[in-house]
Subunit: 244 residues, 2 copies
DNA sequence: CGTGCCCTTGACACGATTCAAGGCTAGTGG
DNA sequence: CCACTAGCCTTGAATCGTGTCAAGGGCACG
């Protein structure tokens, strides 16, 4: 049904593993059951037991945890080509909630189909595990960002990481990308107040490093931003998976 | 050789899965190759490709990432019964470094043995994957701690989490536990200066909540501490794994 | 008896939050 | 077509939490 279009996930995987025609066919099959979700309506609540995962095809999602005092900490953003709830299918109930940031389109992947794909196409399985492992590395990097960098470095690093991820699925480049996030999303993700996010963005813009406006991130001085952020891509690049 | 003693890992797994004699035998076999490492000497460096994982039998380890500016962020502590480098065996090179905090004793688990155990004892495999997934949930919780809690809540939450983990392997209780960490370990883990860690510890002690002294953590008012920290154990308790 | 490591405390500086007010823009109903 | 509203962004001023700097104390070890 969507046979001719190349999905973002396929694009991402292809950057790291040579996929056979068989792999591609299975991947296409996993993309069959399309569903859409409206912006702002929670998809999965913390603690729910899911039977399906999703592959995000279009739009952005965030995963977060709510605190007793009402603040929320955004753990990660999902962009096209990312899995949603992969872990909860493989292992346990979800330990955080998901919410679409804009209207999204996602392919539902029932547990059964996923497990089948795993047994039938080992190379694809490896690639998917590699993706999961990369996601985990990004969470760790986010942790480091929160624990030991000041506001502008956090921001710089975060915007660069997003850029790198989007570039991999053809939605970004070293000059910038479209970004539907609000300043309060940045605040909740980076552990800052939205007022301060605003100030930091102004500073970065006035320093000629990066601008965040009208849904567009524009890198004005990529190298300078990388230097400020201490942005090393080792945790993202990974030359490819080895096994399981 | 160590046939009679119950390893911490076994204790931990047994709390969640009913292990058969076969499972126990395999587990015991994984514990055979004992090695020791001296405190402070880095075991694995970020980026290294490991061929073995370890099961920590005695002592504490921390995993961390170093920043360009020399500060380090501790990502997690490993206590007896925890795996070290499990991910790097299954999937990819390690993305952070490990360092023993005290002299430790660990069982080396070669990749081959681990994979064998996975195929031969599916129930054990599930249990181990469950452990890995729990570790990941703890990293997420740590991220939340750093992003959206002030210093005393971070500290309170952290000390409680450690207590819960240690209790599971018989090394702690609701009244306290032995803890070889220095104040600078807490600082590096919680994203605080060690000076401030010191102040926070004093405050908590004077508030009659918890004391951290001479290698002993003593809970003076467990319920009060839980309340201050907003400590909910859902992410740790997990009534048990379902599958793979 | 010294030396080094860690803990402790105080004074001060700085980064981030909070509070408050106002502006812009898109959407809504008169 | 024009109020009017609701979100979101922007800015300033005051406050608070945490970091930095500096000095001293305790304890273990050589």
């Amino acid at each position: 049904m969507h046979a001719t279009e190349i999905s973002p996930l396929t694009k991402k995987l292809a950057a790291f593993v040579a996929l056979s025609d068989g792999d591609l066919a299975v991947l296409a099959r996993l993309h069959q059951k399309r569903r859409s979700f409206g912006a702002g309506r929670e998809m999965v609540h913390e603690g729910e037991t899911e039977q399906s995962a999703y592959i995000l095809a279009k739009g952005w999602v965030c995963s977060y945890k709510l605190q007793p005092d009402g603040t929320r900490q955004i753990i990660d953003f999902q962009i096209p080509g990312d899995f949603l709830g992969l872990r909860s299918v493989l292992l346990r109930t979800s330990d955080h909630s998901f919410e679409p940031i804009v209207d999204i389109l996602a392919a539902e992947v029932p547990k059964k189909d996923l497990l089948e794909a795993f047994t039938n196409t080992p190379r694809l399985a490896t690639a998917i595990l590699w993706v999961a492992s990369r996601d985990e590395a990004m969470v760790v990097e986010h942790l480091v960002r929160l624990g030991s960098r000041d506001a502008s470095k956090r921001m710089a690093h975060f915007l660069l990481e997003l850029g790198a991820r989007l570039t991999l699925v053809g939605l970004g480049s070293k000059s910038g990308y479209a970004c539907p996030l609000r300043q309060y999303h940045l605040a909740d993700a980076l552990g800052l107040s939205s007022v301060h996010v605003n100030r930091v963005l102004r500073d970065l813009r006035e320093a000629g490093l990066v601008s965040f406006r009208d849904g567009q991130v524009k890198f004005l001085d990529y190298a300078g931003l990388v230097k400020l952020a201490g942005f090393y891509t080792a945790y993202l690049d990974e030359t490819g998976p080895l096994l399981l």
